[in-house]
């Protein structure tokens, strides 16, 4: 059995023949770099996707929807049900300097709901079933020496857990927030992030779940003037993980970097979706997700949407996904979508590649004296290092490097 690799071409919001759309949907007004237009299907704008706080607005996913078509929805009924958290499904711990935890926010209590409006069934049931959302504020100008840590530890497989966190980085603050998932649960987790003007915030979402955990999440951020936001998703554990990392801007001169690292083993489904909404002029974004796959039915998905709105002049954006397939029987889906409504931009690029580490690579390295296990580690570590080194929290970086090595060792046995 060979690795199944699909790389879909970018869909750009411009029909290849002016005035014609395949699905008969309204014309998308777009000026695009035509050398970049692969002449593909036209979809309605990403901006038009439904968002709502009302559970009734989202039908149960069937797998035929655009946003669910890669996900094994059939097994996720427990996560889609409009159900409260099972008593002690997960333990939540916050490690932060005194005064950072501001208690909780009820539904409708701003800033909750100002940035994150649920965009799918999992997010809306999480929102509806979290009466009180954890509210963490990094004060303006603060530069905490240690990262703020939010630990989510699942109590057992199949236990339904809902969470909604609201995170505010005050103006000109410099901070790192780690959201760490361990144990097992059926966890729906929303994260709402407000990055104040001039603030630098790094959010690292680490999925070190046990094998039988399932996790659906929506992480939305709004980035203020001249602020820098970095979101790093690291998914190693869990049977199904699906994380949506979305960002938009509230002031010019802002930068967003959405990064991801995943390593899927046999039977694991790890899905990452990113959406950069360039709704403000002169902002920069960079998206880079890198994944490794090994074992039968290891499945990864990356869907990267970038929308450059008409008013977002001077936008500079790039998105890239790279996958490394280590064994037969894996499947990596990679879909960059670039929608450009103005030609007056600095740049908009995308790239996607899925490569195989095969017997010829192995032969080459071994023919240079490198033993097989070292050769495999060398390749995978080298490949994933680009993301790991962005973490810049030495203890966490080290730990995740070890976890990656453990994933590799598991394959050798």
């Amino acid at each position: 059995m060979t690795a199944e690799i699909t790389t879909e071409k970018a869909r750009i919001g411009a029909p290849s023949i002016a005035g014609f759309t395949e699905e008969g949907e309204g014309l998308v007004s777009a000026k695009v770099d035509h050398s970049h237009n692969h002449g593909l299907t036209v979809m309605s704008s990403r901006a038009e996707r439904l968002t709502s706080f009302d559970v009734a607005d989202f039908a149960l996913p069937t797998g035929r929807e655009e946003e669910w078509r890669f996900t094994p929805v059939r097994g996720l009924a427990n996560l889609f049900s409009d159900a409260a958290t099972d008593g002690d499904a997960a333990a939540f711990t916050v490690e932060a300097p005194e005064g950072y935890v501001r208690g909780s926010l009820a539904q409708g209590a701003a800033p909750r709901g100002t940035v994150l409006t649920p965009a799918d069934r999992a997010a809306v049931v999480a929102s509806a079933n979290t009466a009180e959302a954890l509210h963490v504020v990094i004060p303006a100008d603060a530069e905490p020496a240690e990262p703020v840590r939010i630990l989510v530890d699942g109590a057992g497989a199949g236990r339904r857990s809902n969470a909604h966190f609201v995170l505010e980085a005050g103006a000109n603050s410099r901070s790192v927030v780690i959201v760490e998932h361990t144990g097992a649960a059926d966890h729906n987790g929303n994260l709402e992030v407000i990055v104040g003007d001039g603030a630098h915030l790094t959010v690292i979402s680490v999925q070190l779940w046990e094998d039988d955990a399932r996790h659906l999440g929506q992480h939305d951020a709004q980035v203020g003037k001249d602020a820098v936001y970095k979101h790093i998703a690291v998914s190693l554990g869990g049977s199904v993980v699906r994380l949506n990392s979305n960002v938009r801007f509230s002031g010019e001169g802002a930068e967003a970097e959405l990064l991801g690292l995943y390593f899927a083993d046999a039977g694991q489904h790890l899905e990452h979706r990113s959406f950069v909404d360039h709704n403000v002029a002169n902002c920069k974004s960079n998206v880079l997700y890198k994944g490794a796959l090994q074992g039968k039915n290891a499945h990864t998905v990356w869907v990267g949407d970038v929308l450059i709105q008409k008013q977002a002049l001077g936008t500079d954006s790039y998105e890239k996904n790279q996958n490394l397939v280590l064994t037969d029987g894996c499947r990596a889906d990679s879909v960059p979508n670039l929608e450009i409504e103005t030609g007056l931009i600095e740049g908009a690029g995308h790239a996607s590649s899925t490569g195989r580490f095969d017997d010829e690579h192995l032969f080459y390295l071994m023919a240079r004296g490198i033993p097989e296990d070292v050769a495999r580690r060398l390749v995978v570590r080298g490949f994933l290092n680009e993301i790991l080194q962005q973490i810049k929290v030495p203890a966490l970086e080290e730990r995740l490097t070890e976890e990656v090595e453990r994933e590799l060792a598991a394959n050798e046995n």
């Binding site: 390295l365 390749v379 080298g382």
Partner: protein, 262 residues
């Protein structure tokens, strides 16, 4: 002084049509300091010989032996062969995703020597060797062979040859796809490695062109999986004028039979 000895080697591969014998009894002895050229037309099994020495899993040895100073090379894994001192400069070096040249070279050198090279001298050695082979310094930070041109890949093979200092180098059509300038640069690299006096060279080529720069002590003509004629450098000159026709057409099989018995 080391000896790489190939005796009556038979090699086959599995194809869709069944097993196909490629090497039909090859014997060769190479000693430190010697350069042997193996010349032959396409499809004669030259590259099979090279890959078999290195241990490529595609090739099944059905008979004969390969020994390095008496040690059974065929019993060694691919990496063990390299550590024992066998180096194959590949005809088509593969791109290895995710691994920078710097990281690769250091890891391989550490594996071959059994200890990590001294960082300061190593960095300098790599830099100097790259310079001599006219490889841009920024290649060090690029992934192994990724996006390299054909000529760049060949230079990087010879870079490894110079840095790893093997006992025996097998150069599999290192000259193919090189323009004259690159051919000179690459040949100089091989000659430098050879000049250390600690290496034996098996140079596999289709064309005599590279033999203007790398002087062989022995020339073996390879046809249909066998050595059909052996001689000194003058044999290469004759091939240059006459080509392989007289071996492959008609009389070829008679010559082959005679050579096999010799």
């Amino acid at each position: 002084m080391s000896t790489l000895e190939i005796k009556d080697l038979h090699v086959s591969i599995d194809t869709e049509q069944g097993t196909k014998e490629i090497l039909k009894g090859v014997s060769l002895t190479i000693r430190t300091g010697e350069t042997h050229a193996i010349m032959g037309p396409n499809g004669s099994g030259k590259s099979t010989l090279a890959s078999t020495i290195a241990g490529h899993p595609r090739y099944n040895v059905t008979g004969g032996t390969i020994t390095l100073d008496g040690e059974d090379v065929l019993a060694m894994s691919v990496d063990e062969r390299a550590r024992a001192g066998v180096f194959l400069a590949m005809q088509y070096p593969v791109e290895v995703p995710g691994v920078t040249m710097t990281n690769f070279l250091r890891t391989a050198k550490t594996a071959i020597d059994g200890e990590a090279p001294k960082l300061r001298t190593w960095t300098k050695d790599v830099k100097d060797a790259m310079q001599q082979l006219r490889i841009d310094a920024d290649f060090a930070q690029r992934n192994v062979n990724e996006g390299f041109s054909g000529g760049e890949k060949k230079r990087v093979e010879i870079l490894q040859l110079e840095l790893f200092k093997p006992k025996f180098a097998v150069l599999d059509e290192t000259d193919s796809g090189l323009d004259v300038d690159a051919l000179k640069v690459v040949s100089e690299g091989v000659n430098r490695a050879h000049a250390t006096g600690n290496m034996g060279t098996l140079l596999i080529t289709h064309y005599t062109r590279i033999l203007r720069y790398i002087k062989p002590d022995f020339v073996h003509v390879f046809v249909n999986g066998q050595v059909v004629e052996e001689g000194g450098p003058e044999l290469a000159d004759r091939l240059e004028e006459e080509g392989y026709d007289r071996y492959v057409a008609g009389t070829g099989s008679a010559t082959a039979a005679a050579a096999a018995q010799a």
